[in-house]
């Protein structure tokens, strides 16, 4: 399928002077990228959001400019064959790309059918299709789901399905865009193991966009750091020492640095903003939790962690009054101002300009809007359409608008997904500020490291519910063997 062989190029994936510019953007998304990825390597693409990681993956897979128009200069050769200008459906047989949102890339209604979709398009014989589907589903550990409808899968199951669908294509080169972003710590660990096996046992070349590097150290990855569309650092990581030296997470908040547990205890003794008494909830026949009792006091930061599908978001929804509990009482004074930051920013952006977006929350004074925007590092953008902002900027805007009404209770659902270091630190600072002002905060997150750094109290929802000070809960989880749910695991790796 691929042609235009250029024998002067060396073996491997050669990217030469690649620049990509999207229409109506002044700054290129990628600028003069020169890189050689050799057969059998494990490469990690790191860097802040908007630095060009996804654009690089999309350009290599041919989706840019075929699906997303862009102006491209430079060249890409795979084992001497030019990839640029090829149709993505032709590149697919040699290079697979797993996108960031697993739900969005599923195109059939049944798990088995989804994995068979690619091999069927390659016109493989039926027996070969079946063998590949079986192998790919086993590889990611979801063979038992093969007859399930794709609409009933959890986030973690969908992520594994998306990976299996690409594995079944049989391509040697696999690119994965933040494959663990939506996963609970156990799920993330499983994906990292799969990535390692793909290279070691199957000899595939794996490139992964990932923020969490510690768990990958044992696979000795080569890390390429992008910033503003340029490669700013390349380094082979062989130990945690190498990683520390790279200081990729320099300035990240260290675990357990917030307050003493005693202080947290004091918070919860104050008049609670919301009180959950013996609450039970479930969907249909499935029970998510039973007899859950907790209260959120003024100035308290309570974080909810746990496996995918355990009911973390549901707990937020119950507190917000979007769901009615099956049993028990959720007691919240309706007059307490509420701030809610949804998982996806675009669900809560409604207006044509940022100025008008603040007006929804009662902020009409342009000077006040400017002050809030400066605080959110969105200076001078008041007249701009919020939809033209990057994901990271949209996240800052939604946190800023939620806080502009000075809520007494702030609810945040996975505010760190897909956010770079600077944004994470900014969101953490806003949470701290709100709590210092006396607001109660409930934070749902998979990132136990960040949770440990900010929380007065941690709630683990799972087969058993653990609740208490961060130290208490993480020690209890470690004692149960749930190491992936403890911050130390993500800091130092295994």
């Amino acid at each position: 399928m691929l042609s235009a062989r250029d024998c002067t190029q060396s073996e491997g994936l050669r990217i030469k002077n690649l620049s990509v510019r999207y229409p109506r953007r002044n700054i290129p998304a990628l600028c003069c990228v020169d890189e050689l990825i050799e057969h059998g390597e494990l490469v990690v693409l790191a860097g802040p959001s908007g630095s060009g990681k996804s654009t690089l993956c999309r350009t290599l897979s041919g989706s840019v400019p075929d699906v997303i128009p862009a102006d491209i200069q430079g060249g890409i050769w795979l084992d001497g064959t030019a990839l640029l200008g090829q149709d993505p459906s032709h590149i697919a047989s040699v290079l697979g790309y797993v996108q960031q949102d697993p739900d969005a890339q599923i195109c059939t209604l049944n798990v088995w059918q989804e994995v068979a979709f690619g091999p069927e398009n390659l016109c493989l014989p039926v027996e070969e299709v079946r063998t590949r589907v079986h192998a790919a589903l086993s590889e990611v550990g979801i063979l038992d789901l093969q007859q399930r409808s794709t609409t009933t899968l959890s986030g973690g199951e969908m992520q594994r399905l998306a990976i299996a669908a690409i594995l079944a294509m049989g391509s040697e080169w696999i690119f994965l865009d933040e494959p663990t972003a939506n996963l609970d710590p156990d799920g993330a660990e499983m994906i990292f193991r799969v990535l390692g096996d793909l290279r070691r046992q199957q000899g595939r070349t794996v490139t992964v966009v990932e923020h969490r590097l510690a768990p990958l150290v044992s696979y000795a990855p080569r890390v390429i750091v992008l910033d503003h569309g340029r490669v700013v650092e390349r380094r082979q990581i062989r130990s945690h020492y190498d990683l520390a030296e790279m200081r990729l997470r320099a300035g990240w908040p260290r675990a357990r640095s917030k307050r003493s547990p005693a202080e947290g205890g004091e918070c919860s003794r104050r008049t609670p903003l919301v009180n959950l008494v013996d609450v039970g909830f479930g969907y249909g026949e499935r029970t998510l939790f039973e007899h859950l009792s907790m209260s959120i006091g003024r100035g308290e930061v309570a974080s909810v962690i746990g496996p995918n599908g355990c009911g973390k978001t549901t707990l937020l929804r119950l507190i917000a009054g979007l769901e009615t509990p099956r049993d028990g009482i959720v007691d919240r004074d309706g007059s307490v101002p509420l701030g809610f930051v949804a998982q996806h920013p675009h669900h809560q952006i409604f207006e044509r300009t940022i100025q008008r977006e603040y007006a929804i929350d009662g902020i009409h004074d342009p000077l006040e809007v400017d002050r809030l925007l400066a605080e959110a590092r969105l200076d001078g953008l008041a007249g701009v359409s919020p939809l033209s902002l990057s994901m990271g900027e949209q996240r800052r805007l939604t946190v800023s608008t939620a806080l502009s009404r000075r809520p007494d209770l702030l609810l945040l659902d996975e505010p760190f997904i897909g956010q770079d270091r600077a944004n994470v630190i900014w969101v953490l600072s806003q949470i701290r500020k709100a709590s210092e002002r006396g607001a109660g905060v409930v934070l749902v997150s998979h990132d136990v490291e960040l949770v440990a750094s900010i929380s007065d109290r941690v709630v683990y929802l799972g087969d058993t519910v653990q609740m208490g000070s961060p130290d208490f809960v993480f020690e209890a989880l470690a004692a149960q063997g749930r190491h992936a749910y403890t911050p130390g695991y993500w800091e130092e790796g295994r």
Binding site: S61, D87, L109, Q113, L124, R148, F340, H347
Partner: protein, 253 residues
Amino acid sequence: MIKILAPSGRTTCASGPVSGLLFLGGCVSAVLVASGITVKGVVLVVVLAIAHRCAGSMAIFARKLRFVALFSLVLLVSQALSVHVGHVVLFGRITDQGLLLGAEMALRFLVILSSSLLFVAMTDPDELTHALIRAGIPYRFGFVLSLAVRFVPFFSQELARVREAQRLRGITFSYRRPSELRRAIYYTFVPVLVSGLVRVDAVTMSMKGRAFGANQRRTWSRPLRWTTTDTSLAILSAVLLAVSIVARRFQWI
């Protein structure tokens, strides 16, 4: 095999897309061909009986049918009131001819809608796509059907999330004022549309990234199956059609 997908995704009843289409065709032609209300009534009973057998989807089926039933009643009443031919039988105004015509029209409407709903509920869109492509539709177009079905729950979920976000931010609309209505539409459809467009890009990249469209043909690893349920449905369709032809020939009421 057709499957009725219960909300949980479990299969509760089965038959195939081809027999499903035959049955739909059989029911629709029977009510169009047959004269009078007897055959139409029988067809409706058959459709409802089959829907009832597949108990898992009956609740959704009944909910969807409620509006159709109401509309049929409106048809019946308006027809009865507007036809003045025949003997007056009710309220000094409604005639037997009017009632008969109204009932015929209502039944026809009910059967066409309920059998279509039953077909949609019972057919696995992936299998229907497969059957259509086998019948000669190019596979790139055939897949639109599967995708459309994938997108329906997505849009309803997005709509629900956007509405919740509005509620939590204290955004309320009074639908009586046109300016408010415009604002409501803008506030609701823009976020959903944005999600939709992002989604379309993602699914296109995902499909092309798995060699969709690279070749003129593709493999189908799931064979189209034909079971006794399919045979029974096909025979039933033929019988319904035959009875309706007889009914027309002998002008049954």
